[in-house]
Symmetry: C2
Subunit: 201 residues, 2 copies
């Protein structure tokens, strides 16, 4: 009962995603958000709670829609193809002209230093979770003998994440897709090759 909403909740969320992506969490003002979403300020608060909760909902949507390639990459048969799909897919998203350059999470992360509050911790936790997922995939590979003994899956997961984060910063600075793909290719060269594998074994 009562008066129905005059806007599409999901569509407005998508508009908010674009604004947060472009300006980061703190850089996106409520005025910008409501303008882009086509709703008024009280509507935003009634529907999404507040700026923080809106951003969390945006983050969820971002991971589900734009980061869906991650799950596909983790399902790849080999470590190499997994990491390759991961970094190449990331390069694609970071430079997709349909969206602002860079990564929503990274664009919103660094700002505010260390005492800034809950959103910063939330982003750190989400990145940590992503790294854990990759590490578990690599641990499985190690258990199956694909990773040479002595190679630490945690180290490799951290390395891949670092390269990805660096690519995100470079994308936000204007790097092209081709440039980021070259970064991904060079990053892949660090992986132990079959020859090196045999040499160690």
């Amino acid at each position: 009962m009562g008066r129905p909403k005059e806007f599409d909740v999901d569509e407005a969320l998508c508009a908010a995603l674009q604004v947060f992506w472009r300006h980061g969490y703190e850089g996106a003002s409520l005025t910008e958000l409501t303008d882009a979403m086509g709703i008024t300020r009280p509507s935003l608060y009634a529907t999404y709670g507040n700026k923080e909760e809106l951003f969390r909902k945006v983050l969820d949507r971002y991971e589900q829609s734009h980061m869906c390639f991650v799950a596909q990459a983790l399902a790849e048969p080999s470590v190499r193809s997994t990491i390759e799909k991961l970094l190449k897919g990331y390069a694609d998203v970071l430079t997709d002209p349909m969206h602002p350059p860079g990564c929503l999470g990274v664009n919103s992360a660094v700002c505010g230093g260390e005492g800034s509050g809950a959103i910063r911790q939330e982003l750190i936790a989400r990145r940590s979770l992503s790294e854990d997922t990759l590490r578990e995939r690599l641990e499985r590979a190690a258990a199956e003998g694909e990773l040479p003994p002595g190679e630490d899956p945690a180290d490799w997961a951290r390395y891949v994440m670092s390269v990805g984060l660096g690519m995100a910063v470079k994308a936000a600075s204007g790097a092209s897709r081709a440039e980021l793909e070259r970064v991904a290719e060079l990053a892949l060269r660090a992986l132990p090759t079959a020859r090196q594998d045999a040499k160690v074994a």
Copy 2:
């Protein structure tokens, strides 16, 4: 003639550096800055111009004092030792307990999205300059035959910068020095080895 300053200009600049490092450019408020510097707001404007100019002076000091290892690394004899000193030295600074974690430039960079203004462009330009310097060092190595033919110095410089930027983000997220050193070690594995070099040649 006139009344002398009651504070040390360089010392106050150093205090401002700490604040900007911890909170980023936009995250550092004038109140925080003046409190840390031990001066009043009009003194800050009379001495350093405004917040932007103060930050530029801080950036200069940061590069000269905390990034001095870069010049040493570029003077290393080999490509490998250059990149190793570069990444290891960066890991050191990023996790030095004497300073806030992460990189002043990166902590101040991503925030504000893409339209944020002059400071953002300044930081992008400085990073681009750093990458150019590294690329020139690698071009020299390539000309001397240290880099195998077919290897693009620009690609390698971009790759090293990306790894460094990623390390900076991870450091700001709480990564330890040991973790970043492991990232640097794995990143170094991407470098062409003597064996691969010989194989190509």
